[in-house]
């Protein structure tokens, strides 16, 4: 019912490799039948490592970093042209901010006073292989966005009250791009993975997955041997 309504709020996941989180959310929302998740990487379905529009609820395909900031700009521009009130949210990774196209997009979004557009930065402090600050330092990130003309909020990305309050007060300032930097912990809830660059992209064994699921429930830590096989 909301999938094609032009007055819907739009979500663009520019950080495409986060799509498992979207799949999980869509299952919770009843948009995606949980049974389909076992079709992951099967040619019989369309569930693979990055978002695609064959999955109901996904607005645009992504996976190539730094694309959806500008795509979301186009949508926000059209909504403004048509006098719409709906909002456009684009989620970016902090590693993704290495791509110049992201900053180009911030400049253009600011020039066109797109206060109906929100760039949410998943500031988990990691890129593919290491901490962002050890490779391409981003701090002070708040100042970078402000200097580019955006109005910026920075919150704890795991604090649902802060998230709720922040996302229900738009625009932060008239005629300005909204940017929400969400400080998060990569692998939050799984101490054996949290903040472990070598545990970012692994083929965990069946056993490891089961113990990780228990760990998520707060039981014992998991003994992990699988090494990362980062393909980035």
């Amino acid at each position: 019912e909301t999938f094609d309504n032009p007055n819907r709020d739009y979500l663009f996941l520019s950080k495409g490799h986060d799509v498992p989180a979207l799949y999980g959310t869509f299952v919770e929302l009843g948009w995606l039948d949980a049974a389909r998740l076992k079709n992951h990487l099967s040619a019989a379905d369309n569930i693979y490592w990055h978002p695609n529009t064959k999955i109901d609820g996904i607005e645009f395909h992504s996976g190539s970093l730094g694309h959806l900031p500008s795509v979301s700009i186009g949508v926000a521009m059209d909504i403004k042209l048509r006098g719409g009130k709906n909002k456009v949210v684009c989620i970016l990774g902090d590693g993704e901010l290495n791509e110049g196209s992201c900053w180009e997009a911030v400049l253009v979004a600011n020039a066109y006073k797109l206060d109906n557009l929100i760039f949410v930065i998943d500031r988990n402090h990691f890129q593919a292989n290491m901490r962002t600050e050890d490779l391409i330092p981003l701090e002070p990130l708040h100042d970078k966005f402000t200097a580019f003309g955006a109005v910026v909020k920075r919150i704890d990305g795991h604090d649902f009250n802060a998230l709720h309050d922040t996302f229900s007060t738009f625009p932060f300032e008239k005629d300005k791009l909204n940017v929400v930097i969400c400080d998060t912990v990569r692998g939050k809830g799984l101490p054996s993975i949290e903040e472990r660059a070598d545990r970012w992209f692994c083929n965990f064994t069946e056993g490891e997955v089961n113990s990780l699921l228990k760990e998520l429930e707060g039981e014992a830590m998991t003994e992990l041997e699988s090494e990362t096989l980062v393909v980035r």
Binding site: H67, L68, P69, S70, V71, G74, M77, I79, E104
Partner: protein, 312 residues
């Protein structure tokens, strides 16, 4: 009718149209005042312009996008391929100063691999206009296609009055049994001259203005292969990936062969200069083309070549 007038009328009559540019206003100078919110200049940001155009197209708009050919097709290539090609969105790319028309800019601005690049994108359609008359006859249909389209823009005035455009079809200027020249875009002007010179030398000369490179007019190609001793492809493009390659693909697909002389840029960028001097230096004037085809000198005179508006 000029390109700008056609675009203005089209956009005023159909609010789906959005005119965009990466600060190349040469073709659209009067449109900002007329189209207001539906004219979007994203500044010198080819990638953001294409991504935003895709977002607008998602909302049902038809973005007509303007940029210098080399930056549009190379700087923004991945955005065109991924944000317009994959979802098959109707972005209409107006590619400014392609081929020799970049004259004195130098290699940085020379877009002589654009046909190869653009035709390699699934769903993308590829066109080239010989001059402004040809252009305004082709664009209305191109702008209504549901697919993304790439058009080499040429707004030079020409003496030749073109036929109406039929999607995917070449314009048959003449048929000839000795030789048929196949060309597209700006080079049409010089091929017309070459044809006249060759005819005065007693040859029966065919000339095809291809207009559409993808889809290409296979029937027209196969016909000239049958009826012409020799074919000549003429293009201000690298020999690899352009019309010569397209012709080779058509021949192979139909298990045909032909004697073909490719006149193209061979693994090099061309000499930057005033346009007439570029053609002279690189051997692409009508007279030089005729001489290459004949294999001998001719004493015909090469008509004057108008300069580009910037070089006057």
């Amino acid at each position: 009718m000029t390109y700008e007038e056609l675009l203005k009328q089209t956009a005023l009559n159909d609010e789906r149209f959005i005119v965009m540019t990466a600060e190349n206003r040469a073709l659209v100078r009067t449109l900002p005042a007329v189209l207001k919110g539906r004219f979007i200049d994203t500044g010198i940001t080819e990638q953001t312009m294409i991504g935003a155009a895709a977002g607008l197209a998602l909302r049902g708009r038809i973005p007509v996008v303007h940029a210098l050919s080399s930056f549009l097709t190379m700087r923004a290539f991945e955005f065109i391929r991924t944000d317009a090609g994959i979802p098959n969105l109707p972005l209409k790319l107006s590619s400014f100063i392609p081929g020799f028309l970049s004259d004195g800019n130098g290699a940085t601005h020379q877009s002589i691999e654009d046909i190869a690049l653009m035709r390699g994108i699934p769903n993308m359609t590829v066109f080239a206009a010989a001059d402004e008359d040809d252009l305004v006859k082709m664009l209305p249909q191109i702008w209504q296609l549901p697919n993304p389209s790439y058009v080499r823009i040429c707004t030079r005035t020409s003496l030749y009055k073109h036929n109406d455009f039929e999607m995917g079809k070449a314009e048959v200027i003449s048929e000839g049994s000795d030789v048929t020249i196949l060309t597209y875009g700006f080079m049409f002007e010089q091929c017309l001259i070459a044809k006249d010179i060759l005819e005065s030398e007693g040859l029966s000369v065919g000339l095809l203005n291809m207009r559409s490179l993808k889809p290409v007019d296979e029937a027209a190609i196969l016909k000239v292969v049958k009826n012409s001793e020799m074919l000549v492809t003429v293009e201000d493009h690298f020999q690899t990936g352009g019309l010569y390659s397209i012709l080779a693909e058509v021949l192979l697909e139909n298990q045909k062969t032909a004697k073909v002389l490719p006149i193209a840029l061979k693994e090099k960028w061309f000499k930057p200069a005033r346009l007439n001097e570029v053609l002279e230096y690189e051997g692409f004037t009508g007279k030089q083309i005729a001489e290459k085809i004949l294999g001998t000198r001719v004493n015909a005179t090469q008509p004057e070549i108008a300069l580009t508006e910037f070089a006057e």
